[in-house]
């Protein structure tokens, strides 16, 4: 484990450094300087692929070989080609993905929050058992059952064409099947940190159950809702496996399915166009992360970690 190679000063932010007689520069280096060097090195590892793909997308030669000198020339040809290629409806994929991911994450947040609220606020028979079985069900993730999902959707196609194989609504419903589970746990931990006296006071003031839930509780747990919504959005945004099985028609496909076919069909000579597609696809998620960053950190740590 990399952590074992740590110099001793690393863990003790608060323990005062022992007064010694080493020169100031060396002391700065031992305490802080190496931290900057290490961080910059790791940042290089983290950013090379991103710089590379941005550079490729702007490189008019468009091939894999031509993309190796970063930012050697800049044009937007690849983006134009990407959005005008009639065989690969990138704009459609993009819209499909955003719509599917947004709907799923909103649904996941509502379903998950409602369940977590029930587990956190009510005491009922089967509560403990319910929590445990959620955990058990979650151990058999949907990705393992994709063969059965495929077979189920084949049957549903005959009964309800709108939610069967090939339908985007059907795919959303499949994703919502995973709304409870890990999400419920993350939220459950967070709901427990909101004092019960709040909802009891609201009840005395005459608020209905629905008013308490939507008006008070959901507002107080906003950070964890943001985290769950984001994780679900990103999960759906990145899902290749189930989407590739369910969405057959090219016009209905999502970015992972579409871009994968792009790459697998005509790899190296269309690299620039693919890179442009990758950059555009990454933008919404990266922006969302930056926007919700403070929620993510507090949500992940409060919900999951018992301090």
């Amino acid at each position: 484990m990399a952590a074992t190679t740590l110099p001793p000063t690393s863990t003790d932010a608060t323990v005062p450094v022992q007064r010694d007689t080493t020169p100031k520069g060396l002391r700065w280096w031992r305490e802080l300087g190496w931290r900057h060097v290490v961080t910059v090195a790791v940042l290089a590892f983290a950013f090379v692929p991103i710089l590379y793909v941005v550079s490729s997308s702007l490189n008019p030669t468009g091939s894999l070989t031509g993309s190796n000198r970063l930012f050697s020339s800049i044009s937007f040809d690849n983006y134009v080609e990407l959005l005008t290629d009639p065989v690969h409806p990138y704009a459609r994929w993009f819209v499909n993905t955003i719509v599917i991911a947004t709907t799923t994450s909103v649904g996941t947040v509502l379903l998950g929050a409602a369940a977590a609220y029930a587990f956190s606020r009510f005491r009922f028979a089967g509560r403990r058992g319910g929590l445990l079985s959620l955990l058990l069900v979650q151990m058999f993730p949907q990705v393992l059952a994709y063969v059965a999902i495929f077979l189920l959707l084949v049957t549903l196609r005959d009964v309800f064409p709108a939610i069967g194989l090939g339908s985007q609504l059907g795919l959303i419903l499949v994703y919502l099947g995973g709304a409870l589970g890990v999400n419920t746990y993350l939220m459950y931990g967070f709901f427990n940190t909101v004092p019960k006296e709040l909802d009891e006071a609201a009840k005395i003031d005459g608020a209905s159950h629905a008013q308490i839930f939507f008006g008070i509780i959901l507002r107080l747990v906003a950070p964890i809702l943001a985290v769950v919504g984001l994780l679900s959005f990103v999960g759906v945004f990145s899902d290749f496996l189930i989407a590739s099985i369910v969405l057959v028609d090219p016009d209905a496909q999502t970015l992972p399915v579409g871009l994968y076919q792009y790459v697998s069909q005509r790899f190296s000579e269309y690299w620039g166009v693919f890179a442009a597609g990758a950059v555009l696809a990454a933008i919404p998620v990266v922006l969302l992360f930056q926007f919700l960053q403070r929620y993510i950190v507090s949500g992940l740590t409060t919900g999951a970690v018992k301090g």
Binding site: A3, L6, P8, S10, T11, A13, T14, V15, E31, R35, V38, T39, V42, L43, A46, P49, S56, S63, L64, S67, N68, A114, Y117, F122, R123, G126, G130, L135, L136, V137, M139, Q142, V143, L144, A145, Y146, V147, L151, L152, L156, V159, L176, G177, A179, L180, T184, Y185, Y188, V234, L241, I245, W271, F274, A275, A278, F289, Q293, T301, V305, G307
Partner: protein, 542 residues
């Protein structure tokens, strides 16, 4: 919440205790509902659900999908009872999520389990009756002495049909789904049908336009598949095609009339088998018990690759957790010093890979690691020609590195949070006891950190055990092992192996794929359960 604790709802089962809404004492059910705005919203929503549900029941009943009918009926009753009851508060919050969970997780898991015990797959995907029909159709030929009929191609909507004049001069009409039958709606002029009520008759030019469909169309001659079908090679004359196979329903055998071979229905393997053991291509779905599971371990063509994949899956999952946690923790500690300038900037930059969608990462790295043109070889290594993705061992390393790139920011976030939640007083105490920093890291930081992150490490292990995206999108499981008797590659983990079995090649083996899925589940679940027990994480959680 005393009102809810007095009458508990059973949330661990799909059906809470039923009770007609109007049975409680004191006034009618209607007058006891509060007529608030919320009530009307509820009424509209439940009415919508009911309407959809009833539509579903009717549609499913029309197709004789009784399982769906039963599920929808129960679900409708549950929804109505729960939302119009004054009690069962927890159920009101749980039912929507539980319904989705039941269909798309619990049911599909059970269905996976059931399919694992069948021979479901290509060649075995339907009932015996369908298999008989398929076998007869595949072996149909035009008899040299078969009668010919004047034929007219007819069209209704998108459906093509044939109208013929039989030997007695009567008109008969039929489609692919409906065998030929006599009709009084047809007009016969000059020995051929010129018009059929409700159908459009196609002229020669129109037939040419859709000739592929017309020539492929086969209209069953009668309800008995042994009678064969009518087809047309030119759009104006119909010939009877009869199968060289003959189905004897009473004996359960199919006889090849040309060679005289007799194939008997074998319910054990779901195929028609002759005495010398040859199977006809199309079979049907049967229950095969533990065959799929025993095949995985004893079938020599499958057992070797399976064990190889299993070992690599463990190695991949363990190394992924170890490397990402190692780098994430290391970076968290590096930046957990109040005097480091720009900590905030560093932190938000470090999590950028986490924000980069995983499928893109794999595809981008696939380009970067290309042996001849990729950035890593051509630029970073100055024109080296290292086969990153085509050498079995290097491909494994590549998958791990890409997964490290993807995963360390998450661990970094978690560890940062966990480090900050460790109370600083214990370090003061440790200092008083004379502990050196390294000792404090080992005896204070690590144990406290592991207590809070262990559940996440377990779920990270489980996630990576099934990390389809990284492996499939980077290498497709390859480089393929061409010497192996089954379709398998060096970086295939179990989940991509399942994908190959189910959707990969020409021979889809759903039953076998599901059996491997079940094995993956058993492995992950037992490891998780054992570790959870050890860390007592469950007790902490509830």
């Amino acid at each position: 919440m005393t009102d809810t604790s007095t009458r508990p709802a059973r949330t661990d089962s799909p059906a809470p205790p039923p009770g007609p809404p109007g049975r409680a004492t004191g006034g009618s059910w209607w007058s006891r509902q509060e007529m608030t705005r919320g009530f009307w919203v509820k009424l509209v929503l439940v009415a919508l659900v009911d309407a959809l549900g009833v539509y579903g029941v009717l549609a499913a009943a029309a197709l004789a999908q009784w399982g769906i009918v039963a599920f929808l009926a129960v679900a409708l009753v549950v929804v109505n009872v729960v939302y119009f009851s004054k009690r069962m508060m927890p159920a009101k919050y749980l039912v929507p999520g539980l319904l989705f969970l039941l269909v798309y997780q619990v049911f599909v898991v059970l269905y996976t389990g059931w399919t694992a015990f069948t021979n479901y797959g290509d060649g075995h995907n339907s009932t015996q009756a369908d298999a008989v029909e398929a076998i007869l159709v595949q072996n149909e030929t035009r008899l040299p002495d078969s009668p010919s009929y004047p034929l007219t191609v007819i069209l209704s909507g998108d459906e093509l049909g044939f109208a013929v004049v039989d030997t007695e001069g009567e008109a008969q009409v039929g489609t692919a789904d409906e065998p030929l039958h006599r009709t009084d709606d047809a007009t016969v002029e000059g020995g051929r049908v010129t018009a059929v009520e409700g159908w459009e008759t196609l002229q020669f030019a129109q037939v040419l336009e859709r000739q592929d469909e017309v020539f492929a169309l086969r209209v069953p001659f009668s309800d008995d598949p042994n009678d064969g079908s009518v087809r047309t090679p030119d759009g104006s004359t119909g010939y009877v095609y009869v199968s060289t196979m003959e189905w004897d329903e009473a004996a359960g055998t199919i006889t090849n009339t040309a060679t005289g071979d007799v194939y008997t229905a074998d319910q054990e393997v779901g195929s028609f088998v002759s005495e010398d053991g040859t199977e006809l291509g199309t079979g049907w779905k049967v229950f095969v018990g533990l065959d799929n599971f025993t095949r995985v371990f004893s079938d020599s063509t499958l057992a070797g690759p399976f064990v190889g994949v299993l070992l690599w899956t463990f190695a991949f999952a363990i190394l992924s957790v170890a490397t990402t946690f190692g780098l994430g923790l290391f970076m968290a500690i590096v930046l957990n010093h109040p005097k480091v300038r720009g900590r905030k900037v560093y932190r938000s930059l470090l999590i950028v890979p986490y924000a980069f969608p995983a499928f893109l990462t794999a595809l981008v790295w696939q380009g970067m690691l290309n042996r001849d043109f990729g950035f890593v070889n051509a630029t970073l290594l100055g024109g080296a020609s290292i086969p990153w993705l085509t050498d079995p061992w290097l491909a494994k390393i590549a998958v791990l590195v890409v997964n490290l790139w993807l995963g360390f920011p998450y661990m970094f976030l978690i560890c940062t949070g966990a480090l900050q939640s460790i109370p600083q007083e214990i370090y003061e105490a440790g200092k008083i006891d004379g502990a050196k920093p390294w000792r404090m890291f080992r005896s204070l930081t690590m144990p406290l950190l592991l207590v809070s992150t262990a559940p996440l490490l377990i779920s990270s292990f489980a996630f990576n055990f099934n990390n389809f995206n990284v492996v499939y999108l980077l290498t497709e499981g390859g480089p393929d092992d061409l010497s192996a008797p089954v379709d398998v590659g060096a970086t295939d983990i179990l989940i991509t192996f399942v994908y190959r079995l189910a959707f990969g090649g020409v021979n889809r083996q759903y039953g076998l794929a599901c059996a491997v899925s079940i094995l993956i589940f058993l492995i992950v679940a037992s490891i998780s359960a054992a570790t959870f027990r050890k860390t007592r994480a469950l007790e902490d959680l509830i």
